[in-house]
């Protein structure tokens, strides 16, 4: 049974990124940077209607624009035209066609030249409106609101009668947009001997398989490269419509074509986090034990839910009562379709909204019971009886995280009754917990050792900014007794042994075991082949010399025992609320997080910072706004879709629980789950009333305080 070395010099150290020099100097080539010989610029024409039946598309005028080398219909449009079916645009921003030319300017002119005629159809873009019986139907064959699914445990109606305290609330979260800095896109070169695609993707294999299938090109003739990529957060899997369009343009133009979305288009069409509208009722016994829980939620995944997709999850369904165990529950969930871009997985799908709703109602109940919110959580965040003695159960881990975190945060000293801090600028604190799976699976890797002592480690995985490339070097260095600078790491190419997609916090628990086992096998093979008993460290150069002309190539794969699943995580937030302006300032966030064996402390801490900052955006600034009358996205750019900035970022303190015996688990998602909940609880604690809708804007704070003129 393989195991992580107990003595680790580079693994678990504080190590800078080996690709740092390329990123800080502009030398790193992202898929949106590559300039293959003769490359063309490509752009996409999108529906300006929220819903319309296209009656005519004429691409010829585009082809006449000087510099334009190709014009194609979007694959779905072409297919429907060919089959004689209606070509219906189902949301503002859906793809119609693509053009490629020698300059961006030619493409802009070409898009304007394309003639499209359409009959507008009735549409509905907001959840509240779509629920109504007389709302225009998103899908002809089914109502917008799906039949809810209901799950019950125990006897909830009776149980509420037995509670000493009951609280109710209605909590909403918005549709959140991924907005990675590098938009979705690909540079595709379709030649007679195959397709090469530089993809901004979290899964080169997913792009590879998608292109092979969509373009009907043999899998062995498709190559996908993603050496660097500018962020994904869950939405970048598969070639996308934009990838298929880029490929067809390349085929027609007989030249490589780069199609990357504009920021505007990025916010219309390539995924989002579903909204939620959560009606929650929670009751507890006099001693503070949770006893009854009722939950009724709906949300939208855009056109990706309802009717034709049978109201499928698409991440709309939430986890309720999330990390808390309640013996009597009724959980009712539904989805509502609207004529807007479809949802996709977004960092810890379903968890941030679940955490927000649950942790908010928990704090309400704690206040009603007169119990300290931390004590209330310690009482109720417990493992299932059969896991009570399992130190690795997330609830047991969170018990320790709550206690230690509260002490380090100064919870007892800082906690005041809600709304009791003096003056117009009120301070408050809040906390929230999280749970996430993570975990790894099959990954293959390859190590090539050369007689000059140089060594390459190859794996078809991705580094999204997560530090994958770096920990591969650290692991190899520790196995071979070398320095990380002596390891050449090659990733992001489907020519290398396959790994899975980078999602679900599964990359490090998938890749790191494969690297460890493969390097260990490679070392053994080197020693066997050369007869050197211990080839590590200072013996390395001489051992390698004995290899002779042919380098030694060793293949290996992921094995059990080096990774596991399920993390906890708790966050504490301190805020200041200006009750005259409604402005919320986050002063400090403390993260107490476990992640099994930490591969690289430096990059792990950055991930935790990043999760908090994204969660803060969810709490205070981000929401996609649809215009009821025109059906368009009102805020598809950064001046109106607001991200957390350097000016807002609070002091973030990180405490990492080191649990090497659990192996590697994955840390990308846990850190963004409880942040908004902790901040929302801190705001409620500060001002004494609850804003139960994200984002917590100044207007909502003033309204909660009864100071908003609009609501007067």
């Amino acid at each position: 049974m393989p195991s992580w070395p107990e003595k680790r010099e580079y693994i678990s150290s504080h190590h800078t990124r080996i690709d740092g020099p390329y990123k800080v100097s502009g030398a790193a080539k992202y898929p949106s940077d590559v300039q293959p010989e003769g490359w063309l610029y490509g752009m996409i024409l999108r529906s300006k209607w929220a819903k319309a039946k296209i009656t005519k598309i004429d691409l010829d005028p585009a082809l006449k624009v000087p510099g334009i080398k190709a014009a194609v219909l979007a694959p779905a449009v072409e297919e429907r035209q060919k089959s004689g079916a209606d070509v219906t645009m189902r949301y503002y921003g859906e793809e119609i066609a693509g053009v490629a030319g020698t300059s961006k300017q030619a493409c802009l002119d070409a898009l304007k030249a394309i003639k499209v005629e359409a009959t507008e159809l009735p549409y509905v873009v907001r959840e509240e409106d779509a629920k109504a019986d007389d709302a225009p139907r998103v899908w002809d064959d089914a109502p917008n609101l799906s039949t809810p699914s209901t799950k019950e445990t125990g006897t909830v109606d009776q149980a509420f009668g037995e509670c000493a305290a009951v609280v109710e609330g209605f909590f909403t979260t918005p549709v959140q947009l991924h907005n990675p800095l590098e938009t979705h896109g690909n540079t595709v070169s379709w030649k007679d001997d195959g397709v090469t695609c530089w993809a901004s993707t979290q899964g080169i294999t997913s792009v590879h398989d998608g292109l092979s299938k969509n373009l009907d090109v043999p899998a062995s003739q498709v190559r996908v490269i993603s050496e660097y990529m500018g962020g994904g957060f869950g939405a970048k899997f598969g070639p996308g419509v934009e990838g298929a369009i880029a490929a067809q343009l390349s085929k027609q133009a007989k030249a490589p074509v780069r199609v990357f979305l504009t920021r505007f288009d990025q916010n219309l069409a390539v995924g989002n986090r579903p909204s939620s509208f959560q009606k929650i009722k929670l009751g507890a016994k006099a001693d503070g034990t949770l006893h009854a829980f009722e939950f009724d939620n709906f949300g939208t995944a855009g056109v990706g839910a309802g009717g034709a997709t049978a109201g499928g999850g698409s991440g709309v369904a939430l986890r309720a009562p999330y990390i808390y165990r309640v013996p009597n529950t009724r959980v009712k969930q539904a989805t509502v379709a609207v004529d807007a871009g479809s949802a996709r997985a977004f960092r810890a799908p379903s968890c941030p909204p679940s955490s927000f709703g649950m942790e908010s109602i928990m704090d309400e109940l704690a206040v009603k019971l007169g119990m300290d919110p931390i004590e209330f959580r310690i009482k109720n965040d417990t493992p299932a009886p059969d896991r009570a003695d399992d130190p690795n159960d997330p609830a047991n881990i969170r018990q320790k995280e709550l206690k230690l975190g509260a002490e380090r945060f100064g919870w007892k000293e800082k906690y005041k009754k809600p709304g009791s801090s003096p003056g117009p600028i009120k301070t408050g604190i809040g906390c929230a917990g999280s749970s996430w799976g993570g975990g790894g699976r099959g990954t293959k890797a390859e190590v090539e050792i050369h007689s000059d002592g140089s060594v390459e480690v190859r794996c078809g995985t991705q580094d999204l900014g997560t530090g994958t490339r770096t920990y591969i070097a650290l692991i190899a260095a520790d196995v071979f007794g070398l320095k990380p600078e002596q390891i050449t790491v090659r990733i992001g190419d489907t020519r290398y042994p396959p790994s899975g997609g980078s999602g679900g916090s599964s990359t490090s628990p998938s890749v790191s075991p494969a690297i460890l086992t493969t390097c260990t096998k490679a070392l053994e093979a080197l020693q066997t082949q050369t007869g050197v008993a211990d080839a590590r460290g200072s013996n390395w150069p001489d051992a390698c010399k004995k290899l002779g002309v042919n380098p030694l190539v060793t293949q290996g794969q992921w094995e059990k025992g080096l990774s596991s699943t399920n993390t906890g995580g708790v966050q504490f937030a301190e805020v200041e609320v200006d009750t005259d302006t409604g402005f919320v300032r986050v002063k400090k966030v403390l993260v107490v997080q476990d992640g099994g064996l930490i591969l690289n402390r430096l990059t792990c801490e950055s991930q935790l910072n990043g999760g908090v900052i994204m969660g803060m955006g969810y709490a205070l600034y981000e929401e996609r706004v649809m215009d009821k009358n025109s059906g368009v996205v009102l805020n598809p750019n950064f001046e109106t879709y607001k991200l957390t900035g350097l000016g807002e970022v609070p002091e973030i303190e990180v405490i990492l629980f080191d649990m090497p015996e659990r192996g590697v688990i994955g840390i990308g998602e846990p850190s963004t789950i409880p942040t908004a909940a902790a901040i929302a609880n801190a705001v409620a604690n500060a001002i004494g009333v609850r804003v139960s809708s994200l984002p917590i804007t100044p207007q909502k704070v003033l309204a909660a305080l009864g100071k908003d003129k609009l609501s007067a």
């Binding site: 100097s25 502009g26 500018g230 910072n609 973030i652 990180v654």
Partner: protein, 219 residues
């Protein structure tokens, strides 16, 4: 969608526009307007450029680069898409995110919002001009050391921003760094470490509190 300034077929010279005012005004005013119009026509004749592409020379990182660009081409588009210097990124194309930041005659600008034509005769510095792997600037080294980067797409813009700040203000306070670099966005969340890197490059040490606790040793 970013709209280009398209030619819609309507064209009027400034002189004739001003003249149309002159005919309905008093004689004195007409004479004045005529004089201004004459000056403008002279100026117009010398400076009408485009809409077709024209040759330009840009001074980038100390080297002249010759390009042929339409007047509507931005400095970002020209450098990023017409030269191998792809370090500056197009992220928003409308002056809201800073990923395209360049120094032009020592001033930090959003290159997506400057026309390539207007950058002629000026000294342009891109991130590639600050350093390269093996020979990085103090700011670039500080970024790596403090891990002020993750996916790296915002990094060139921030490196430019911090470099520009330290050129003007070699010992900034934390508040000054936040204010100066507030025009750069990051989605991965590297802000705390960018702050640390900026201060480190200025010779000021600031670290965030991080701690690793052995779970096995916890009570």
């Amino acid at each position: 969608m970013s709209e280009s300034n398209s030619k819609d077929g309507f064209s009027i010279s400034r002189r004739s526009f001003l003249k149309s005012f002159g005919t309905s005004a008093a004689v004195a005013a007409t004479a004045q307007v005529e004089a201004v119009a004459a000056e403008l026509e002279k100026a117009n004749k010398e400076k009408v450029i485009g809409p077709e592409a024209v040759p330009i020379t840009l001074n980038v990182n100390g080297k002249p680069i010759q390009l042929t660009v339409e007047p509507r081409v931005t400095l970002l588009d020209a450098i990023r898409n017409m030269t191998p210097l792809t370090g500056s990124k197009e992220v928003c194309d409308r002056a809201t995110c800073g990923a395209c930041s360049m120094l032009v005659d020592g001033k930090l600008i959003y290159s997506c919002s400057m026309l390539a034509l207007d950058a002629q005769g000026k000294k342009i510095t891109t991130v590639e001009g600050l350093g390269e792997p093996g020979k990085l600037s103090k700011v670039q080294e500080a970024f790596i050391e403090q891990d002020a980067l993750m996916c790296g797409y915002c990094t060139p813009g921030f490196v430019m921003s911090v470099t520009a700040l330290l050129m003007k203000n070699p010992k900034p306070t934390e508040a000054e760094v936040r204010h100066s670099c507030a025009g750069n966005l990051c989605r991965c969340g590297t802000y705390p470490r960018i702050l640390q890197a900026a201060l480190k490059a200025a010779g000021i040490s600031k670290t965030a509190k991080t701690e690793v606790i052995s779970y096995a040793k916890l009570a």
